[in-house]
């Protein structure tokens, strides 16, 4: 790769001075070593310190820098600059209130995550040593526990856009199934009761945007399907 100039069109809004959001056209020169979109944003930030976005680990495990990139939700740190059509159009994640520029208010997203009781429930007195779990039982958690709570999925989901207060959303439901699938967890029926509702689980219409955008390659739709199976299973 070589030195090159990258063209952007970026959503800007500072509640302290802007009456309304606007799209800013801006470009930045980057070095041959700049591979990811976040590298270019870092260069841009050095040029204009008012540009606001979240970022931390820059390697796709913390989930901070989720944004809408050329119309699709993704992490800036895992997106190759050279794969993107220019000008690169950056917007905040859709469906959540914008605080400033690319920073959204994630309260509703985390409220739904918290609503599924995202912690292991096991009321037996803890044994002296670890609870045993076979490698096969542990494998059931693969594809579930790796979620980084970036919100790419939930904010790509039309059902979440319409009912963010009622529909748990793909990230929350993936977490719900992570505990339902854990042989150490004892709260299966309580967890299913908590989702037995026209909205919380059943607003998923398998549109599968969540699968399409997940930067970790996870499949919330599949997990949701398994919860639905469990619901049916216990109704029988």
């Amino acid at each position: 790769m070589s030195k090159r100039t990258v063209q952007f069109s970026i959503y800007r809004y500072d509640p302290d001075k802007d009456e309304a959001p606007y799209m800013q056209d801006i470009s930045v020169d980057i070095e041959p070593t700049d591979r990811k979109l976040l590298d270019a944003l870092t260069k841009l930030k050095a040029k204009d310190d008012t540009l606001s976005y979240r970022r931390s680990c820059r390697e796709g495990v913390c989930g901070s820098d989720a944004m809408n990139i050329n119309g699709k939700n993704a992490l800036a740190c895992l997106t190759d600059i050279d794969d993107l059509k220019q000008p690169i159009v950056l917007r905040p994640l859709p469906g959540l209130p914008v605080i400033r520029d690319l920073i959204v208010d994630m309260t509703q997203f985390f409220k739904q995550y918290h609503s599924i009781k995202p912690y292991l429930i096991n009321n037996d007195p803890p044994p002296e040593r670890e609870r045993l779990q076979s490698p096969e039982e542990r494998e059931e958690l693969n594809g579930l526990y790796e979620c980084i709570l970036c919100a790419c999925c939930s904010t790509a989901c039309p059902s979440f856009w319409w009912n963010p207060d009622k529909f748990v959303g793909p990230a929350g439901l993936l977490a719900a199934y992570r505990f339902l699938a854990d042989t150490r967890d004892q709260a299966t029926s309580e967890r299913l009761d908590n989702l037995e509702d026209p909205y919380r689980l059943f607003r998923c219409h398998t549109i599968m945007n969540c699968v399409d955008v997940c930067p970790k390659g996870l499949n919330p739709t599949k997990a949701i399907g398994k919860i639905k199976d469990m619901m049916v299973g216990r109704a029988v």
Binding site: K17, S56, C57, V61, C62, P126, S134, P135, R138, E146
Partner: protein
Amino acid sequence: MSIPVLKFDAVIVGAGGAGLRSAIQLSEAGLKTAVLSKVFPTRSHTVAAQGGVAASLGNSEEDHWHWHMYDTVKGSDWLGDQDAIEFMVRKANECVVELEHYGMPFDRTDNGKIYQRPFGGHMSNFGEKPVRRSCAAADRTGHAMLHAMYQRNVKANTQFFVEWMALDLVRDAEGHVIGVTAMEMETGQVVIFHTRATIFATGGAGRIFYSSTNAFINTGDGLGMAARAGIPLEDMEFWQFHPTGVAGAGVLITEGVRGEGGILRNSSKERFMERYAPNAKDLASRDVVSRAMTTEINEGRGCGVNKDYVLLDITHLDPNTIMKRLPGIREIGLQFAGVDCIKEPLPVVPTCHYQMGGIPTHYSGRVVVPHNGDHNSIVPGFYAAGECACASVHGANRLGTNSLLDLLVFGKSAGDSAVEDLKSGKAHRELPKDAADKSLARIAALDSRKGGANVHETRLAMQRTMQTHAGVFRFGDLLKSGVEKILEVEKAARQLEITDKSMAWNTARTEALEMENLIEVAKATMLSAEARKESRGAHVRDDAPDTPEFPNGRNDQEWLKHTLFNSADNSITYKPVTMQPLTVEPIALKTRSY
């Protein structure tokens, strides 16, 4: 100026592993606790830890805490305090099992126990051969651990202040710590958290170096706050360069890769570690491997067009093992090196990774400073744990997987100590009228200054200076000129200017405040390193070479002591290393080899 005061029993600054572990103790004890974090808790940098957490569970072969203790003392090049090290390794099993009970998805052995893999410097029978001691969840152990602990805190109803940045420590006239000032990032509002206990769990400051595995948020905020409040910083010359950062990108490749059988090779495909560490080879301690790699590169045996990296080879491993035990590494290779490690070796270089020094603490988590002839006098109301603290268990070089253990054990013990100290029901001490003045003045200066230094350029100048003058190998003359240079950068860092004046989510202001913390760490590092005229662990200098009188350049007669750096006057004092463990015989001084 009157600003809001929030009263809590305790405030925990930082919601990474150490902060979350402390919070569990305080919340479950029913104390009114506030946890402040610059980022949503699961975005803290503990999330990026990969390879595992050390505990002598002995799930796959015989192991013993005493062997773990020996390895840790030896790894520290005898600079670690042996009481704290014994305390840590003996708590390891309990702390790891607790995590499992919280729901952490550890990998499993065939009989259902926690899976363990070998790791650098961890040996059986007092240094004989590598042992399986690292408890792992694939190569995502930090992620699995951080999420499990956040989830436990959700269960315990811990009160989080998410996206709040702590600004300064509040001390009263007697020196008691009675809280912190902090800024809500969304609104720019400054608030005083008035408390009876203040626990720092603010992590490391790897961003002082140009090339680092660390996240952007690792800016040493706790160390900056402590230094500004007159607390000395301990052993800051000791920084770990992790052998395997992705060349160019800096992203971490876990030592677990070598634990699973990975081999380092130079340009002629030679397994060069056999020459440097005939016994442990690729699983020697991190400082040893990083120096070996740097020597290979310096002597022209590096790879690539510029011969500036070596290769980490796992192409001989079963692809199924890679997919099962190292799936994240394969992703990182594809993402950041454009290499599929199943088919091709990964390009790697030693990269700044971990700060062994920090805020001086007792193993109970209480902060200790020299006072009236006592080297370790407790600062009432102040606790620290994890990478920001120096207990000191890592001494001059940390073993892989001992950092996750450190944050569990000392996060818990700091929490327990705070609970114990608060039981007496002491009232909040009176808040001085000027409690927030220092913080407000810092912010006002940033908002009004014209013709000051640019934050980005100042940070770059600091990072380049640290990289050139205080890297893997250190040189007497470069350290000397490094001191001058970093003091120049400090002047700029005290005169920062930002153009963003908004009150809403002002990241320019946050980065400037972080820079004021980073420079405290960079200065402490450079000046402490220049002053230590020996080679020990991760601190190796050309003018303290390997000689018969001083093997490996280590000089125990003069330098078996901890550095304490005072920021106010750039002075250095020293305190003795604790050689006496809690219950066993001291691990006697010995020349270190692997």
